[in-house]
């Protein structure tokens, strides 16, 4: 065992292979395959009930898969009980034991491992210093603020130098300001330790800001894996497009050919589409509000695709203004940057919606 908390063990990979899990008729995890690189900060992102926490608890050993296996550093841990897995988990509720001081909480895992007393003391100090709580070691958990409790929970887990760090919605019990601060601290800590870390969250902003890669999950299925930018720029399906940021999703069909080729929505609105663009059968047109813009009804910018529209509503968002632009029976959101003095489009007035062809996505419905 090593004297300090700075990571002296090499980081390990985590692999989830062909995992299925059901509670009775409820198929919670469906054919999950994921490979997490050593030292990576990885997120399971999805709405509540998507199976992300179940998957995390499966890695910690609190759930058992019906099929498939979990390996850490190439070693199959599927049959090990939780107390032999050596993966550290920070619980959503922190789960600090109220009958023990902060110091005793942090020392617990080391005591269970039979580490020598002097060694325990040193490593508890180191872990508490790492999260900046050395001065509160003798307090009871109930005497700490939410942010401090969260840091104690992290210190308790990293004090045992786990192979992998699992974080179950660690920021959900903090207020908005603390959340931003603590997520930076977590990222910073993970970078310093170089520890393979898996982070469960339903908040895309949290995942985007601190994670290297994200697995977006829905309904027990991994929808897409990638870096935050990849997911945003090239969503694999409508769920990912809608879950990461706002997206206009328009369903319709391809009509005509050559110069007449277009994407028809509701049998009336027609987006012109160049002949070279391949559109798979049954696709929806997807674009983000900030990738569209509005110009005066009589303007026609070069190289852009334009359609006449009517302004249906207007919301002030601070840095931008979100317009609802109605094209026939369809309404799309368009974000225009806001600066003082900008002329605004009035509700009910006519305008032209313009789109850059390369910012359009065609995704299977």
């Amino acid at each position: 065992m090593n004297a300090t908390v700075s990571l002296t063990r090499p980081a390990v990979s985590v692999a989830i292979e062909g995992v299925n899990l059901s509670y009775g008729d409820n198929h919670v995890l469906k054919d999950i395959d994921l490979a997490i690189e050593p030292g990576e900060f990885f997120a399971f992102l999805g709405p509540s009930g998507c199976g992300k926490t179940t998957l995390l608890r499966l890695i910690a050993g609190f759930n058992r898969a019906d099929t498939g296996r979990v390996t850490i550093g190439g070693r199959d841990i599927s049959s090990l009980p939780p107390w032999k897995r050596d993966v550290g988990m920070v619980f959503q509720s922190y789960a600090l034991w109220p009958h023990m001081s902060v110091r005793r909480n942090v020392a617990f895992g080391l005591e269970e491992r039979g580490v020598k007393r002097a060694e325990i003391e040193r490593r508890v100090e180191a872990a508490l210093d790492l999260v900046g709580l050395g001065h509160l070691a003798e307090r009871r958990p109930s005497q700490l603020s939410g942010g401090q409790q969260q840091r104690v929970a992290v210190a308790r887990t990293i004090a045992v130098e786990p192979k992998v760090l699992l974080l179950d919605e660690p920021l959900s019990n903090l207020d908005a300001k603390m959340r931003v601060q603590v997520r930076r601290e977590l990222r910073d800590l993970q970078q310093r330790l170089g520890l393979t870390t898996i982070f469960v969250t339903h908040d895309q902003e949290e995942a985007n800001t601190i994670c290297d890669r994200i697995a977006v999950m829905n309904d027990g299925v991994v929808q897409q894996v990638g870096t935050p930018m990849e997911l945003y720029e090239h969503p694999a399906n409508l769920f990912v497009a809608g879950f990461l940021g706002t997206a206009n999703i328009l369903k319709g069909r391809v009509v005509g050919s050559g110069a007449e080729r277009g994407f028809e929505i509701d049998g009336q609105v027609r987006f012109p589409v160049a002949a070279g663009v391949a559109i798979p059968e049954g696709s929806a047109l997807v674009f983000r509000p900030q990738h569209a813009s509005l110009v005066d009804a009589n303007e026609a910018p070069e190289g852009a695709l334009t359609l006449p529209c009517v302004i249906a509503n207007r919301e002030f968002l601070g840095a931008s203004i979100r317009y609802g632009a109605r094209i026939g029976a369809t309404e799309v959101s368009v974000d225009m940057p806001f600066q003082s003095g900008t002329d605004l489009f009035e509700i009910g007035s006519a305008a032209r919606l313009t789109l850059r062809p390369r910012s359009l996505h065609w995704l299977p419905v």
């Binding site: 050993g61 009980p81 107390w83 619980f91 509720s93 789960a95 009958h99 617990f108 019990n173």
Partner: protein, 573 residues
Amino acid sequence: MTAVPTTPSRARAFSATPGQIALALAIAAFLLVFLVLPVATVIYVAFTEKGTSTFTLVNFHDFVRSELFMRSLWNSFYVSAMSVAFASVLALPLAYLTTRFAFRGAAIVQTLGFLPLIMPPFVGAVAMQLFFGRNGSINLLLDDWLGVKIDFMEGLNGVIFVQSVHYFPFILVNLSAALRNIDRAMEEAAQNLGSSGFRLFRRIVFPLALPGYLAGASLVFVKVFDDLATPLLLNVKDMLAPQAYLRVTSIGIADPMGYVISVVLIIASVLAMWLSALALRGRDYATTQRGGGGLARRVMRPHEAVLGYGVVILILALVLAPHLALLLLSFATIWSFSPLPDAYTLAHYGRVFGESSLYIKNTLIYAMLAGGIDIVLGVAIAYLVLRTRLVGREWLDWMATAALAVPGVVLGIGYLRTFYGITLPDGTPLAALWITIVLALAIRRLPYALRACHAALQQISVSLEEAAENLGATKARTVRRIVVPLMTGGILAGFVTSFATAAVELSATLMLVQSNSDAPLAYGLYVFMQSAAGRGPGAALGVVAVLLVAACTYLSHLIVERSQKAKGSGHRP
């Protein structure tokens, strides 16, 4: 931290109305006269020379020098401590089984929690003699088969046996609740850090459940220490509570030793409560945090299930034994030196509903009045404490709750001494009137009714009342039209609990019953059970009492459930 001074306008907004002040004063006067004064009288007499008002410690000196009293003191401690120990032995495995395993027997075990409410322990004492006594069913069978007899019921053993079988559910209920309230993540966090099995139980689960265990254990200790009728019926006289009773009834109300013993009883029960409060300080873990869910339950393996059911059935048999014996006895013609009665009859019930129906009528009146007084006081005190800024309102709460620490026999002696001197115009002393029995019962049960009312009021959002006031209702009308209707479930539950437990209370009333025509059911039971010939009718009366209390308990359960359901669907506070 510096105290933030309340602004004058805010202080005025929260100061009490004249009506509230009058109400508080009336309650304070009631509690002073019927709780504080009698107890203070007992303490005063214990510390003064007989017949004078000179302060003295000589009475305590006599107490310490008396071999009988010192033995009684030791016996009371010994019996209480051993009862806690045996009750723990019964309760621990049941609590563990029901909270850690997915176990069909759990529902049966949970209903055991109501049994102590249903039958006073002294009724069980006689019935237990028939099964476990020297010539009871079990020993007769043991003698036949193995040629041995076991002294379950001899002397102090008998008291310990009866009390621990009777009171163990207090530990079971408190401990199970504590175990169930532990956040599952508490256990999982320990497993995640490498802990498992018995170490996990010892380091995490048990410490978190300890407050529940201590609360139950101290309750059992105090109840056993104060119990008067069980040792008396088992013919054990050298314990403190029976000694206090015997001194006052045989030597007389002027004899100081009864008062000295009373003071010792008060000290012991205050001490036990203080120690448990001390042990619990800073440990009131609200561990049902955001995660919640209770501990993980495991499905039992076949051999574990066999063992589990074995333990449950054995304990269940033990718990049901007094009830079964009582039922048999109530139908028995003669039951002596045989495992089962010789023949069966309905004559005992005929007698109970004939000449003894007076006991039942008295009990219904007394318990109803006591329950009524309790909920009126309970609602009023809860309202004053939770909804007004009246200075000293907590004192009302503390005073009412302090009744918990006053043993029934002490209250009885206090009433006799305090109110015997006060006579009505026609010359009868106040203490001889049946109304004093009602008042003693009301004071004894007030802490429980107050808790129920307090809890009911606490659940009502203040904004519901503010909305009524905003729409023009005065304080008094708001209470009548909003607060009381919303509290109905809690109030009824408090009433039924007070009623049911007052119906079988004996330790205070034993002192205060002056004539047979004023006697309640529990007193009649006690009188019947003392003679061999009276045991049959006594048992029949006991069955009636058990059914009465069981019906009430079930009723209160129904009321609470229905009112919770109604509120749950109606609105969310």
